[in-house]
């Protein structure tokens, strides 16, 4: 749908070189990279606000590399929204409709419709200066959609939002993507990438160094940079189930869970993925989810210990790798877990490949993201 071939751009000390990737129709493509790696430059070059030095941009078979901004069919939502400060939210949204929708009444009807989709109907008469970050973001999104782009570019769309605003915006973006809108989303936040992307491209110093599914990238980072940047080895895609728990463990839920449970009334969230079930703490409803565990948060022991950790999982060590700041133990526990320990612990516990060990993970140490 969108094909980028060898795109290069340099100005001043910055350079973006030989960026190539392809995004298919209806895909949610996340460009992930630390700040200052040229993600915004790439977006602005795609949208035509900066001219590429070299390379080609093909949108639906049409070479738009030198096409004028207003004729490209690529919508861009800026990081700071760039709402027109002298117009109401309504006029902002209507701006891109002139010349596309005939007649004032039709324009207004379309504005109302977009506002409803973006849950901003009550904000239409407000001036941008009076909107919160999340509200402004939704107005900007509605405005961009009004221009009916073939492809939507989002520059750090969640960065200015608080937690509540983020999950709401994630929901909106997911819904939009489900309606077959092709989205390219730029972020420095791996959690954003995990929870939204169908594919992720990792950017480093003006280049794309890896493009893959989020699972593959987190499982198999293509370079030290990617590994260090994402910093997380334990990443599982699965689902949240909520089960009523009454006075004791639910054997169906905890085949691998050996530790006893503290019981509370109500539905306890359990994260289930292929090969692993984990007790988690989350306010998410049942449904698709992603669980992330930092390797530092996994405690290993030779015997199953009785502690406050809700998840104790049996497994076998398959590799021991000295890394910066410690030793990484890879454990086959139905799934592959990575635990970070100190070299002294390795010695004291006599850990070696093949040792049977138990991994304890507190439910509160597991980050559950809306998947």
């Amino acid at each position: 749908m969108l094909r980028v071939e060898g795109l290069s751009k340099s100005f001043g000390a910055f350079s973006m070189s030989d960026v190539s990737f392809e995004v298919s129709e209806g895909e949610y493509f996340v460009l992930l990279g630390p700040s200052g790696t040229g993600k915004t430059v790439l977006l602005e070059t795609l949208a035509g606000m900066m001219e590429a030095d070299d390379g080609r941009i093909i949108l639906r078979g049409r070479d738009i590399t030198r096409e004028r901004v207003q004729k490209r069919g690529i919508g861009l939502v800026f990081q700071d929204q760039a709402l027109f400060p002298h117009m109401t939210a309504r006029a902002n949204i209507a701006y891109g409709l002139h010349g596309r929708v005939a007649g004032k009444a039709a324009i207004q009807a379309r504005v109302e419709q977009l506002a409803e989709e973006m849950e901003i109907s009550h904000l239409l008469e407000r001036m941008p200066g009076t909107l919160s970050g999340g509200e402004a973001q939704r107005v900007a999104l509605a405005r961009a959609l009004g221009a009916e782009p073939d492809c939507l570019l989002l520059d750090e769309p969640l960065s200015s939002l608080d937690t509540g605003g983020r999950s709401r915006m994630r929901g909106l973006l997911r819904r939009l993507n489900r309606k077959k809108m092709t989205i390219i989303h730029v972020t420095h936040d791996y959690e954003e990438a995990l929870s939204l992307a169908s594919r992720v491209g990792i950017m480093e110093d003006g280049r794309i160094v890896q493009v893959d599914s989020p699972e593959r990238i987190f499982r198999d980072p293509g370079s030290e940079f990617v590994a260090r940047f994402i910093g997380i080895k334990n990443f599982f895609r699965g689902r949240i189930e909520r089960r009523a728990v009454a006075g004791g463990g639910d054997p169906a839920a905890g085949g691998d869970i050996v530790a006893g449970r503290v019981t509370t009334a109500g539905a306890e969230p359990v994260f289930i993925s292929e090969g692993i079930k984990l007790d988690v703490l989350t306010s998410l409803d049942a449904g698709d989810a992603v669980a992330v565990i930092r390797s530092e948060d996994i405690v290993v022991s030779i015997e199953p210990v009785s502690s406050s950790a809700r998840n104790v999982i049996a497994g076998v060590i398959i590799d021991i790798v000295p890394v910066r700041g410690g030793v990484e133990i890879l454990i086959d526990a139905g799934v592959e877990l990575a635990a970070m320990v100190t070299p002294r612990s390795v010695e004291r516990l006599g850990l070696e490949i093949g040792t049977k060990i138990y991994s304890s993970i507190k439910a509160s140490a597991i980050r559950v993201l809306d998947g």
């Binding site: 207003q70 919508g75 861009l76």
Partner: protein, 264 residues
């Protein structure tokens, strides 16, 4: 001790600044005080005076509006585009501020006098620059246009580029972006430039004197009364004209200020 010395410095600054203020206020106040209401009303009912005031107001307004057609787009270009000799162009815009206005008038005569191509063109169109309204406007425009261009340029430069980019991205043509985004957001500076240019045009004397002694604008009338009848006769017209200028200036400033409040 340090506090005392600090206060002392500020006191000296205030005293020096006060002298400058006094230097501006005293002559004006003196002139206003030396004129009796009777002189003023006599002057106001003098048809020659009222005609000159009308001519001055309308020619300066006309000059401002006509020049705005080219100056505002030029200001946008200077604020937004990089091109060769841009600094030179910025310098040229400021030229009329530094050259003597009588010299400006002489220079203008060189291109708009009867025998010149511009003069002939005007003649064909049925008017004349020299000794006519068009000449007055040309002289006023020449000396006052830098104020508009500079102010509008600063205004455009202060509009975030991103807003113009966003508008283009929504499919708007560059012309539409200019009129719906750039101009409204730079409006405060453009308006302030228009007011400054108008005020500067109204008060112009030297260049107009050279190009068109008649029809008489008020500054020329004041000069003529002073030359022919002396200080006593020049004063009432001066007071009347200064008052009118101040009234216009203050009113427009207030209107511009209100707009600012509405915008922010």
């Amino acid at each position: 001790m340090r506090i005392f010395r600090g206060e002392m410095t500020h006191l000296v600054f205030a005293a020096l600044g006060g002298l400058v203020l006094l230097f501006i206020i005293a002559p004006l106040a003196g002139m206003f005080l030396s004129v009796t209401p009777g002189d003023l009303s006599e002057s106001a009912s003098d048809p020659e005076v009222s005609r000159s005031v009308r001519v001055t107001l309308f020619t300066s307004m006309g000059a401002t509006l006509i020049m705005a057609l080219g100056s505002v787009p030029l200001a946008w270009l200077l604020a937004r585009k990089d091109f060769p000799l841009k600094q030179l162009i910025n310098g040229i815009i400021d030229l009329p501020i530094v050259i003597p206005h009588s010299a400006a008038g002489i220079a203008l005569l060189g291109v708009i006098a009867r025998g010149t191509p511009m003069g002939r063109l005007a003649e064909k169109a049925g008017f004349e620059f020299v000794g006519g309204y068009a000449g007055i406007m040309a002289a006023m425009a020449f000396v006052s246009v830098p104020f508009l261009v500079n102010s509008a340029r600063d205004g455009f430069a202060a509009v975030p580029r991103q807003l113009e980019k966003a508008a283009l991205n929504l499919g708007a043509s560059p012309v539409r972006v200019f009129f719906t985004i750039s101009v409204p957001l730079a409006w405060r500076s453009i308006l302030s430039g228009l007011i400054l240019m108008w005020a500067r045009g109204m008060s112009e004397f030297g260049a107009v004197l050279v190009v068109a002694y008649h029809p008489m604008i008020t500054p020329v009338l004041i000069y003529e009364r002073f030359g022919a009848f002396g200080l006593k006769y020049a004063r009432p017209v001066s007071v009347l004209f200064v008052t009118i200028c101040l009234l216009f200036f203050i009113t427009l400033r207030v209107i511009a200020g209100r707009r600012r409040d509405a915008q922010s």
